[in-house]
Structures are given as structure tokens and as C-alpha cells.
Amino acid sequence: MVRTSRWTIPGVFQVQRLPIRVVLITAGVSYLLQIGAIVQGYPLYGIVAVTLVPWLLVFAFEYIWKYEHYGFFAFLLAFVLLQLGHLSEHTVQIIQLYATGGNLAKSHGVFGQLDFETVHVVWDTSVWVGLAICLYKFSHNRWLYVSFIFASLHEVEHLYLYYIYNTDRTFYLMGGLTGVMGYQGVIGSPLYRPYLHFFYNFMVVTPMLIAFARQTEHAYDQFLAKALPDLTEKELVETTNRLERVVAQAGDVIVRQDDPSDRFYILTKGEVELIVSSKEGWERTIETLQPGRFFGELGILTGRNPATVRAKTHTELLVLDSRSFTELMKSDAKVRADVDADMRRMHDLKYATSGPTPTDGH
């Protein structure tokens, strides 16, 4: 049976790969584990960890799907989420400091076991390098430059701290951990280290979020761009937000010959076969489509499907309703030409089929 899920704009922010029931089950399991951890008296990091664990698979499946469809933009999305998590950790730490009257020994964030220089330098270097990669990829996004500059300043701080930590532990413990810009550090400022690093992270994350919001306006489905390569970027983004995801299993009939048609399909995974049949009872496979190809346009324009389309394997498709498809055709002559060419090819294939061949099923 063909399964359909609809999403509204912008699709990239929604759970697109997994059915909503899986998300609800995950939320339930996560909640139960959280309650269990609280009842068992787990420390804060344990409670947060068991709450997050069930979501890891959901995030992994979603991330793979989004990467297949949105390309490198999916990396930016994951990167922003991780950095928000990092900023949350710093925020928790300053809340703990406020609550304990500035007691650093009791204020190490949620995952306090990870509060040491090696973890800090590895994480912040990853952020710095990750931002450099994002910047190269989305080099027209000005806010990424702002975020990258603050990440670079932060990196100087952590490279210094890591060196001191490893080469002069005495100095480190005698106040060297205050760093370059911390209170009475090499340059110095009025901010003690935890407050300074909270500020650094805010200055990295804020422009990153603005950059992400801007980049979302350029995010479109790569399969749509492959199927209709002459769409403008604006059309790609708008059309992406009108797409539905459809899943079919091997043997499922996606559209049936001569049935009324109101949908345009783009194949994103698996294979489908186009089958024409006659009143005499013979049928013939005229073509097998691979990901990136489309069908359904002839049905929309003539009102009837010219062929049956059947899934050969587990198949995923993107679907556009006839109204959106017709608007797209009206607005763009190049797209019309692309679709016309495919329709002519389909027409030729169908009418080149004058009857069954010895290998065809009857």
C-alpha cells in the first residue's frame, strides 16, 4: 500500500523521514526513561543522557534523509543544533554559578565530567573547522563570516589554554586557566573565565542562527533540482515546501493506467516500471525509472494516466499536487520545455509498443 505523509512549510524543520507515530513512541520512551532515572536517583548528567539516548536513532535517520535531499545544508542544520546544545551547557553553568553564589566547584554544567581542557579544545576546534567548511560552502552568507571570526577568537583562547595545561601545569593551577582574555589573563578583561566563555559562545551562536535562517531561504530538495534542472532557485525553494513524501513497497501500484491523475511524482529512491496494457489483455514494461526521474505530468495535462507505474523495489517519491505543478509549468518556459521533452519521449515509447513481445507477460 502506498503511504503518504504531508508536511507544511518549511519542510526542512520537520520530521520528514520517520512517521509521526515513531516520533511519538520515541518521546514516550524517552519520558519513561527520564522518570526512571529520576526515581533511581541518577545524577543530572545521567538523567539528561538517558532522556537523549532514544532520540539518537531518530536524529540519525532524519539526518541521513535530510542530507540525501538537502545536501550540505543538512550539515549546517546539525551543526547549529549541536552548538545550541553547547551554548545550553554554558548557560546551565552560569545559572549554577548564580545559584551557588559563584562556587565553581559546584558549577560545571550538566556534563561536568567533561569540563576539562582537552574536551574544550577538541570541541571548539571542531566548531572552528566546521564553521570554516560551512563558510566555504555557503560563502555568500555574511553572517557565517561574523560567526567564524568569533569562533577564531575563541580558538586562540583554547589553543593557549591547552598549551599551558599540558606544558606548565603549575602556572595553569596558579591562575593560568584564566587564559588570554579572562580576568587578569594575558590581555585581561572584567570577566572571569566561565562568564567570558559564555559570552564567546553567545557571539558564535547568535550570528550562526541568523546565518542559518538566511540559508534556509536557499534550501531546496536536490532531487527536485535534478528532475527539473531549469527551475530558478526561488522556484526550487517554493516548490520544495509543497512536496509530499510517498513511500511504496515492491509491487505497489503508484498510478494506474487510464485513472484520473492529479499528481506529479519525482523518484528519489528505488526503481519503478512504467507498464502499458491493452484492452486485449497484454501488458508491456516500456521503461524502468531510476532516482531523479519523474512521471505523472502527462496524466495531469491530459486528465488520464497513460501508463501504470509500479514499484519494483522499496521506493520513495516526492509528490507535487497538480495545481502547484500547473502553476510551475505556466510560470517557466524552460520547465515547460523540460517536461515537454519528457512527455514526447514517453509518448514515443508508448506508441512504439504495438503489441506484446515473446518475453512479455500476458
Binding site: I94, Y98, A132, G175, Y183, Q184, V186, P190, R193, F198
Partner: protein, 88 residues
């Protein structure tokens, strides 16, 4: 253009707000135990800080160079009438 100003205003307000919060906490909550380097040791590792800054500047410059080259390639392709480069 207008949107750019709004984004810049949001950024400035957030930056001032974050700094004000950090400063207020530093002044009113503080940090205990507060260990700061003795004055004679404070300047001890300034060369390390300069080295870290130099390393970061070199890497950043390399990234910016790659971006400049990328933009040049895009511009040349555009001038040659090759297919547009999408930013998504």
C-alpha cells in the same frame, strides 16, 4: 537591505545583552575560589598567546583565500555563460 539592518540590530542587542549579563554576574556573583596568576607570572606566556593567534590567523587567511578563488571561479563561469551556481 532593510532586513540586513534588522539582523544587525538583533545581533548588536544580543551581543550587548550577553556581555551585560556576563559582566553583571562577574561583578555581583563572582567566582570562588578565584585564582589569578601573580603579576610576575602573568606575562610569562604571552608568546604562547601570540603563537596561537598567529596559527589561527594563518588558517583563517587560507580559508579566505580559498573563498576568494571560489568566487573568482564562479564569476568567470558566469561571464562565460555557464549554468548558474545555486547557493543552496
Amino acid at each position: 537591505m532593510k532586513r540586513g539592518y534588522i539582523e544587525a540590530a538583533v545581533f548588536v542587542v544580543v551581543a550587548i545583552g550577553a556581555f551585560a549579563l556576563a559582566y553583571w554576574l562577574a561583578q555581583n556573583v563572582g567566582l570562588h575560589p578565584l585564582v589569578v596568576p601573580p603579576p610576575d607570572m602573568r606575562e610569562k606566556h604571552w608568546m604562547v598567546a601570540a603563537g596561537a593567534a598567529a596559527l589561527v590567523v594563518v588558517v583563517d587567511a587560507f580559508v579566505f583565500l580559498l573563498i576568494v578563488l571560489k568566487h573568482r571561479r564562479e564569476r568567470r563561469a558566469e561571464e562565460a555563460g555557464k549554468p548558474r551556481v545555486l547557493r543552496g
